[in-house]
């Protein structure tokens, strides 16, 4: 048994397995209204703190809401907003990073010093500081994370542009008369894509953790919206009598983050990319 598990984790099967788990999560997120057995925000005090049953497979919380439905709906918020953060910080980073690397000179210098300034802060603390300034709420949290996270992409893309500028194969392609589109498609994209995919995978994990941590602190998603961190926040008062209310969402967060981490690690091994810590 153990050796079989070990074999799976060491072989190339990690990537398909993790992709499958992610695929299922995405399907759950999209089809949550059809999959969930109950309304995730319908309060019904008659059914409060029920044990698992056919109607409520994971029981109910202190307001009689179905735990399973809330977890399933929570997938939408976590995955959806993590994706939004990834795409938007990636785009901002892409634009600023390539511009900075391409232009060089004092603009490059000024932009990079600004990035250094942001990187001087531990990132979650800067995010929290920004949330403190903007005020609590999901929108503000997302905005704050985006404002901090783009810096990493900007630096990555700048570095790539600089090193690509130096490479002879780009010059060779130019000299041999390849069109700009062809150079981008055949030379730049294949070089940029693998580290990007790895970074994106790891970023999704962090973003999900950050969003749920914020909601747990009461700064992110506000009740009654179903979100995993917020569920833990609400369930903590019932830890003595009904620990399962906060047990399930935590397990789900862990599953999702393990999946993203395993996938990111397997991908970076495959493409032998150095990761940042």
């Amino acid at each position: 048994m153990m050796t079989r598990i070990r074999k799976i984790f060491r072989s190339q099967k990690v990537i398909p397995i993790c992709s499958m788990v992610l695929g299922i999560l995405i399907i759950i997120a999209i089809f949550a209204p059809w999959i969930a057995p109950n309304d995730p925000i319908a309060v019904n005090l008659v059914y409060k703190l029920q044990p698992p049953s056919w109607e409520f497979p994971l029981g109910t919380d202190h307001l009689g809401r179905c735990n399973l439905s809330r977890i399933l709906y929570g997938t939408r918020i976590s995955l959806g907003f993590a994706m939004l953060i990834f795409i938007s910080s990636l785009s901002i980073g892409l634009i600023i990073g390539t511009f900075s690397g391409y232009r060089g000179g004092w603009i490059d210098h000024a932009l990079m010093r600004f990035c250094d300034g942001i990187l001087a802060f531990p990132n979650l603390i800067l995010i929290l500081g920004l949330v403190g300034i903007f005020g609590p709420g999901l929108k503000q949290v997302i905005l704050a994370i985006m404002l901090v996270q783009w810096v990493y992409y900007a630096r990555m893309f700048r570095g790539m542009v600089l090193s690509l500028k130096e490479h002879n194969f780009i010059a060779a392609a130019k000299i041999s008369g390849s069109s700009q589109w062809k150079i981008i498609k055949n030379h730049i994209v294949p070089n940029v894509l693998p580290p990007l995919v790895v970074m994106g995978t790891l970023e999704m994990g962090w973003a999900i953790m950050d969003i749920s941590a914020m909601s747990f602190l009461g700064l992110g998603v506000q009740p009654p919206t179903p979100e995993w961190g917020a569920m833990i926040h609400e369930g903590k008062s019932y830890i003595r009598t009904n620990p399962e209310i906060m047990l399930y969402p935590g397990l789900v967060i862990m599953l999702v983050i393990v999946t993203f981490n395993l996938l990111g690690e397997a991908l970076s091994d495959r493409y032998s990319i150095k990761r940042r810590f």
């Binding site: 010093r113 531990p122 403190g132 941590a213 961190g229 047990l247």
Partner: protein, 313 residues
């Protein structure tokens, strides 16, 4: 070497200036008017006259550059303004709460080092052995588990079920155990991996082969040579992770109702107590910058090649 040290110390000044610029600029991003927030917190009916007076007192009617210079001058004197909520100087409030946070942080660093050094070392020495597999599972678990959830799981098992440790509060060493273990787990995960990788890397080095051919005992080679060199990336890791540790204290303090700086910060966010927020962010940044500097300097003393390399560039 002297010039390198000096250069490295000087290099933190612009970063520090940028950090203060960001925290000073923060107020202007906010929709909250500090003068108004102050008056509301102090239960004074805001009239235009008092508002204008307060704005003048806070220096908000001055040009931004002057505000920035003033705030740097004040920070140098450890004057972080007055809390809107308690009406006391922020610095006094902070120094009152910081010892609890330091206690928590030190506790978790001690646990993390005590666990991860033997674990990472043994995992690296016997690759793919039982300990190595255990360390891999532990570091994966540690990196993926949300600490706010883990804290409650600990409370449930060790406080509610087994009644071994108190649920929350501060005072005896029993109070310290659960929070610092919770805080230590992600660190254990990271350091174990770092040390394992570094031990594996060092075992490929020619000096190990040379020592073996000279017939030196394997135990001596590993314990005396490999471990000593392999531990160096861990020191870097310790310094680089002070920021992460600080972030961790915010969450762990919230879970265990630990009366520290992190919980105060969260309270300040809810109350929109901007001077406190600024102060926390700035202290976090300074800690981060200074700890990176110290780590660099320590590394330089351990491995003089670093300063020579820098000198050549």
């Amino acid at each position: 070497m002297g010039t390198y040290v000096l250069k490295r110390i000087m290099s933190i000044i612009p970063v520090f200036l940028l950090a203060t610029l960001l925290t000073t600029g923060m107020i202007h991003l906010s929709s909250v008017d500090p003068a108004e927030a102050y008056l509301t917190a102090a239960h004074i009916q805001p009239t235009d006259e008092i508002l204008a007076q307060k704005r003048h007192e806070f220096g908000l009617d001055q040009p931004f550059l002057l505000q920035y210079v003033n705030s740097i001058m004040k920070i140098c004197q450890l004057d972080f303004g007055i809390s809107y909520v308690s009406n006391k100087p922020v610095w006094d409030e902070v120094t009152y709460r910081i010892p609890a946070t330091i206690q928590l942080a030190l506790g978790s660093i001690v646990i993390a080092v005590l666990v991860s050094v033997p674990l990472g070392f043994l995992a690296g020495v016997k690759k793919n052995g039982l300990i190595d597999h255990f360390s891999r599972v532990l570091s994966f678990f540690g990196a993926s588990v949300p600490s706010f959830w883990l804290g409650y799981i600990f409370i449930f098992f060790f406080s509610v079920k087994l009644d071994l440790f108190p649920v929350e509060g501060i005072g005896t060493w029993q109070h310290l155990v659960l929070p610092s273990v919770t805080l230590a787990l992600p660190l254990i995960a990271m350091y174990t991996r770092l040390l394992r990788a570094s031990v594996l890397e060092n075992m490929q080095e020619p000096y190990v082969l040379f020592a073996r051919t000279r017939g030196i005992k394997e135990k001596t080679i590993m314990g005396k040579h490999v471990l000593r060199i392999a531990i160096s990336p861990m020191i870097t890791g310790l310094g680089m992770n002070l920021g992460k540790l600080l972030t961790g204290t915010i969450i762990v303090e919230a879970v265990f109702s630990w009366p520290g700086f992190g919980r105060y910060f969260i309270e300040a966010i809810f109350n929109r107590d901007i001077p406190v927020i600024q102060c926390y962010v700035l202290i976090a940044a300074s800690l981060f910058i200074v700890s990176n500097l110290i780590v660099d300097l320590i590394q330089m003393f351990i491995d003089p090649r670093i300063s020579r390399k820098e000198g050549q560039q």
